[in-house]
């Protein structure tokens, strides 16, 4: 068969343009795939997608309690009320305060530890295991331990402070220190996790860069600020954004340790939504608050997506 004949023979067998339905039933469509994802899809539909739409609807109603009969569609009333709701914005402000203390605090502490861990000292694995204990521990158990450690009279922290000449602090009883105490606990609990992420970033920096800088006469401080830190930018960015997202979702330590007190000083937004929805049973209004929270978190997520795109990464996250 000649060469041109071969082409003609091939084109004769090219399938005609098929519509979507025909393509769906064609053999190249491995329909068994639908069966494989069916359980996960049904789960997503019932426990995430439907609740998501339902949540938006709820936020336009005055739904109270789990009983649906009394719910009325009230349009944007919840949102109008929300913008003038002082208690909600105080919860937002408390959350922002927590975020402002927690995110830089935990990032700096964990970076310092990671820098030491990166010195290739012996026994680093043992230390990593120890630093990770708070990370894996339950929030409730950790909270209870810290309630006793922070006790104003007999707590260990005040005992240590007294030894170095600092007057005892009523950590959890004073509105001006309660949030700081929560942040200290949260930092203590999470630095092990962030340290591992920093360490991965540090180990990705080629050794030659530091050696070259040393040959050029740079001292350690200069090397850190001019070479290490800029090269860690993706890690810094990742930790900052996930830290902000996590901070806006903090719940367990507040629930266990302070219950939002004293005098509302630790009433963070998720705790506020929880009490609105499940203690006051004001579910429609609580749903509208949840959507405002979603907007904040979504903005942070978009910044992250934008940054990853700029770094030339594909994919959604």
């Amino acid at each position: 068969m000649s060469y041109t004949g071969k082409i003609a023979a091939t084109t004769a067998y090219l399938p005609k343009q098929k519509n979507l339905w025909q393509r769906f039933w064609s053999r190249s469509n491995e329909k068994v795939g639908y069966l494989f994802i069916l359980p996960a899809f049904l789960h997503l539909l019932l426990f995430l997608l439907i609740p998501l739409v339902f949540s938006l609807y709820l936020s336009f109603t005055n739904w109270r309690g789990p009983n649906p009969q009394s719910a009325l569609f009230i349009g944007l009333e919840n949102y109008e009320f929300l913008f003038g709701d002082r208690r909600f914005w105080e919860a937002m402000r408390n959350t922002a305060y927590y975020t402002l203390l927690y995110v830089p605090g935990s990032m700096i502490v964990s970076l310092l530890i990671a820098l030491v861990m990166n010195q290739k000292l012996k026994g680093v694995y043992l230390f990593r295991t120890l630093f990770f204990m708070p990370v894996i521990s339950s929030w409730v158990a950790v909270s209870i331990i810290w309630i006793t450690l922070l006790d104003p009279q007999v707590g260990i922290l005040n005992y240590v402070l007294r030894q170095i000449g600092i007057a005892p602090v009523n950590w959890l009883g004073d509105p001006s220190t309660a949030m700081i105490a929560i942040v200290i606990i949260a930092i203590w609990k999470s630095v092990g996790f962030q340290m591992v992420i920093w360490l991965a970033g540090l180990q990705a920096i080629p050794e030659e860069l530091h050696e070259a800088a040393a040959i050029d006469g740079a001292n350690r401080t200069q090397t850190f600020f001019r070479i290490t830190l800029p090269l860690l930018a993706p890690t810094t960015f990742f930790l900052a954004i996930t830290g902000v997202i996590g901070s806006f979702q903090v719940f367990s330590p507040i629930y266990v340790i302070t219950g939002g007190g004293p005098r509302g000083s630790t009433d963070v937004v998720v705790y506020h939504i929880y009490t609105r929805a499940f203690e006051a049973y004001d579910m429609g209004y609580a749903a509208s608050q949840a959507w405002i929270l979603f907007a904040v978190i979504f903005a942070a997520t978009l910044i992250q997506v934008w940054y990853r795109r700029r770094q030339g990464e594909s994919g959604l996250f």
Partner: protein, 284 residues
């Protein structure tokens, strides 16, 4: 090169490094030591001043009391049941979906996968209230079903296993197909056994997440006999409880009981845990 010699500066840096690490390690560990030793004390000696970090006495009375005074045994069984079913369910459902998304070509696959991924951006607080209402409507409040079913799948798990399945050579699948194996058989007999570490990573994460979950059991478990350990411990500490102010040793014994299984799993599965963090963490 001088970098391998022990110059005075290097020695100093080493000492400084270990000092920092030991200081941090103490900060991390002391609260746990305090928890264990306090759990072995008499109720009154827990309030001794200065605080006694090392045990002055050892008695297991508090642990006995836990199981007689409070139904802690029941909490333990509840947590075990919920965790077991959630972990097994997650492994099964997410691995099935991961195989579909990674190794089968069907129309709309990539669109569906993007929808799955996009839902990871939704914080759980947004869906929490309607999710509770749905579970309430289904009559699942205060049941194991209500505690387990909503957590039985996870998009993170699908993502993690899909990545692992994509790494299996195409030939394995093709050869099995030529031998006449069904897709389910290929998934069950080839892909699951080949991806043990990825499955273990997901199992460890699912275990930790379920064992220490507070918010969902708080909404679903309405009577004491449905409480999980984490929830039981939280109630134990609540302002209405008499123990918060008066009986630290009992509270600490309860905390030890809650933490032990997690610690146990962590120590034996540390490898998978750290692996999972690097997977979920630094992708950029």
């Amino acid at each position: 090169m001088t970098s391998h010699e022990n110059t005075p500066f290097k020695v100093f840096a080493k000492i400084a490094g270990y000092t920092v690490l030991i200081g941090v390690a103490l900060t991390m560990i002391v609260p746990f030591i305090w928890m264990v030793t306090t759990s072995l004390k008499e109720p009154n000696s827990a309030f001794a001043y200065p605080p006694q970090l090392l045990p002055t006495e050892i008695n297991f009375k508090n642990y006995e009391m836990l199981f007689t005074l409070v139904p802690f045994g029941r909490y333990f069984v509840n947590t075990l049941v919920v965790t077991l079913f959630t972990v097994v369910g997650q492994l099964l459902i997410t691995s099935l979906a991961a195989y579909g998304f990674a190794r089968l070509n069907f129309i709309g696959r990539d669109t569906l996968f993007v929808i799955f991924l996009a839902t990871m951006m939704v914080p759980y607080q947004v869906t929490l209230i309607p999710l509770f209402l749905i579970v309430f409507g289904l009559g699942w409040v205060n049941t194991y079903t209500g505690l387990i079913i909503p957590a039985i799948s996870s998009v993170f798990g699908i993502f993690l296993l899909r990545q692992a399945f994509l790494g299996v050579p195409r030939d394995y699948q093709e050869a099995a197909r030529i031998d006449g194996a069904s897709e389910f058989r290929i998934y069950w007999r080839i892909f699951l056994p080949l991806n043990g570490p990825a499955l273990a990573t997901l199992a460890v994460f699912a275990f930790m997440g379920t064992w220490t979950d507070l918010l969902w059991p708080l909404l679903i478990a309405r009577t004491p006999e449905m409480r999980t350990l984490e929830l039981g411990l939280a109630y134990f500490n609540s302002s209405t409880s008499a123990f918060r102010q008066t009986n630290w040793p009992l509270m600490m014994a309860a905390s030890v009981i809650v933490m032990l299984p997690v610690l146990f799993v962590y120590i034996f599965a540390q490898r998978y845990f750290v692996r999972g963090i690097s997977l979920s963490g630094v992708k950029g």
